[in-house]
């Protein structure tokens, strides 16, 4: 419990720091935000209008008071409006976030469906052809640029065969190609990891002991080796959840999939600073929360760390 409380306090401090950095960022961004906001449909604006809005946004106050107002808005979940679409940033982020989460989950499923069978077979039939094939898969999979794999898939399934849509979002069919691309790219790492973890497990003394007691190989593998080998895999998995979410950025751009990754890349290219700032805040808070969650889970799952932590204190 002490540990969790400590992490939460750290999180609060982090939020404060992050808010300060974001505030500085938007202040340093080139261009006058007031003019950007008023600049709709090429209608010219008067000086009075600009001044009025400046007053309204407290832009004429000293910097620390501006920060205070910004902070108040930040904690009221007001992240400003997009320069381009004039919509509130937060509502845009939230409306696009489910698409990204769907893509992430679908890719996870693909990844598990590929890496668990391949990794297991590879460890069980070490140095047989299955093993060689899956190691080749892992090597090529970690060397192939994910966006290029996606391009190949589009060319094959969408253009040549015409069975799957290549872009956009809507039906379940739309998610197949993006998730397949990302899932394959991600699974290369896990095939390798699961293989080495299982091989290590198969050499442990308790496996020999179980064999001596006459327990069947199938049982040994399922209940003794496999379960224990998942611990390192889950650790790495937890650590790479964040990079999975970031991996969706390229895939979303490639497939014109309307998630938050596509949104931020468009915003960067169009210099839509409020959206970039909103994305940065959103994604950093999300990743920090994921990290804290994984940390707590891991402590719960693995008693060794929990005990060591107590000893140190």
């Amino acid at each position: 419990m002490i540990h969790i409380a400590k992490r939460l306090i750290e999180f609060m401090l982090f939020l404060l720091l992050l808010s300060f950095i974001s505030f500085i960022f938007i202040k340093l961004a080139p261009g006058d935000p007031v003019k950007q906001m008023l600049h709709v449909d090429e209608v010219s604006v008067t000086k009075e209008q600009i001044e009025a809005l400046r007053d309204e946004l407290k832009f004429n106050e000293p910097l620390y008071i501006q920060y205070w107002y910004w902070l108040k808005r930040f904690f009221e979940f007001d992240l400003g409006h997009s320069y381009i679409t004039k919509q509130p940033v937060l509502s845009e982020l939230l409306s696009r976030f489910p698409a990204t989460i769907t893509l992430t989950c679908a890719s996870l499923i693909v990844m598990i469906l590929i890496s668990v069978p391949l990794g297991t077979l590879s460890a069980l039939y070490k140095n047989k052809w299955v093993d060689h094939m899956s190691r080749l898969f892992a090597l090529v999979g970690s060397s192939i640029p994910s966006f290029w794999l996606g391009l190949l898939f589009i060319e094959l399934f969408a253009v040549k065969l015409g069975i799957l849509p290549s872009m956009g979002k809507g039906t379940a069919k739309h998610i197949i190609l993006p998730s397949l691309t990302l899932g394959i790219a991600m699974s290369a790492v896990y095939v390798r990891l699961l293989r080495s973890s299982l091989l290590e497990g198969l050499n442990e003394d308790y496996v020999k002991a179980a064999r001596a007691r006459g327990i069947s190989e199938k049982r040994i593998f399922l209940f003794h080796v496999f379960r224990r080998s998942l611990i390192p895999v889950i650790t790495i998995f937890g650590m790479s959840l964040g990079s999975l979410i970031s991996g969706t950025v390229v895939i979303e751009v490639l497939f014109a999939y309307p998630g938050i990754g596509k949104m931020v890349v468009d915003a960067i290219i169009r210099r839509d600073y409020p959206v970039i700032q909103g994305y940065v805040l959103f994604i950093t808070i999300l990743i920090v929360m994921i990290n804290i969650f994984v940390d707590i889970c891991y402590r719960y799952l693995n008693p060794e760390i929990r005990l060591k932590g107590v000893e140190r204190r």
Partner: protein, 273 residues
């Protein structure tokens, strides 16, 4: 310098590593042999199929793809090398210093590094190019920032584990100066480990550069960067598939070779990056 001797021995023995070095050399010298100007636009020769005159064909602006691939190799691979050199020169001394001094400085410094490393590299790259704007220089800066932490950590942990060993104690007792101690005893270990990590990382850096350039945040046209080239010629993939296939193979083979070399080195020295 035992590790350097071992490396020499290994180079004479291990094929992937030789391949990797040969590949790097080929990439760096390639622009000397480009048959055409990679930037020269010739609208009369748009989208030509591969032929003797244009080995890989031409793109939508009539530029020779073979020359662009060679020039692009220098941009992509050269940028990757530049990133690594900056990371090594700035990260390794700091990491060694942090490990050597220890104490409060070390603790706080590592705290900062840890919080940096909690974020996926792609996110940091996106955030930085969001702040600084798209472009190759900003991309280099972003990748340096993302990769920096792991080198600092590795240099630090190597120094920490070597510092405790008896031979270092002996050297200190016998009055070896701090500078000589670091140079003669600690540096060789650090250099070996860091070298392995750098080889393993190289492929990832190339992928980052190409991916970020593909989504438009890195190299800008007309720079012949492999990822940016793929982005530029997207509308023509269907009519001229070689525009898609060839730059992709260029990226993939580079990453594949460096991954192979990295695996060999890792197995040999058992370094955990």
């Amino acid at each position: 310098m035992k590790i350097i001797k071992q490396m020499y021995w290994m180079c004479s023995r291990q094929l992937p590593f030789i391949l990797f070095l040969a590949y790097l050399l080929a990439i760096v010298t390639a622009p000397l042999f480009t048959p055409h100007d990679p930037l020269e636009i010739n609208m009369n020769e748009r989208l030509l199929e591969p032929s003797v005159e244009h080995l890989f064909g031409t793109d939508h602006l009539g530029r020779d793809l073979f020359s662009r691939i060679l020039a692009g190799g220098q941009v992509t691979v050269g940028t990757g090398l530049l990133v690594l050199i900056i990371v090594l020169l700035s990260g390794v001394p700091l990491g060694m210093m942090s490990g050597f001094i220890g104490g409060r400085f070390d603790r706080y410094f590592m705290r900062i590094i840890d919080s940096f490393m909690a974020f996926p590299d792609f996110i940091i790259a996106i955030v930085l190019s969001g702040i600084l704007g798209p472009g190759m220089l900003n991309l280099i800066f972003a990748i340096v920032v993302t990769k920096w932490g792991s080198y600092v950590r590795l240099a630090r942990s190597t120094v920490l584990s070597e510092k405790e060993k008896d031979y270092v104690l002996m050297a200190v007792v016998n009055g070896l100066s701090t500078f000589k101690l670091i140079r003669k005893h600690l540096l060789p270990h650090v250099v070996g480990n860091v070298f392995v990590l750098a080889t393993l990382d190289f492929g990832k850096i190339i992928l980052l550069i190409a991916s970020l350039s593909y989504i438009g945040l890195g190299a800008q046209p007309p720079t012949p960067e492999w990822g940016a080239m793929l982005n530029e010629s997207t509308p023509y993939f269907h009519s001229s598939p070689y525009l898609m296939v060839i730059p992709g193979i260029a990226i993939m083979s580079t990453v594949l070779i460096s991954n192979l070399a990295g695996d060999v080195l890792r197995d040999r020295f058992d370094v955990k990056g």
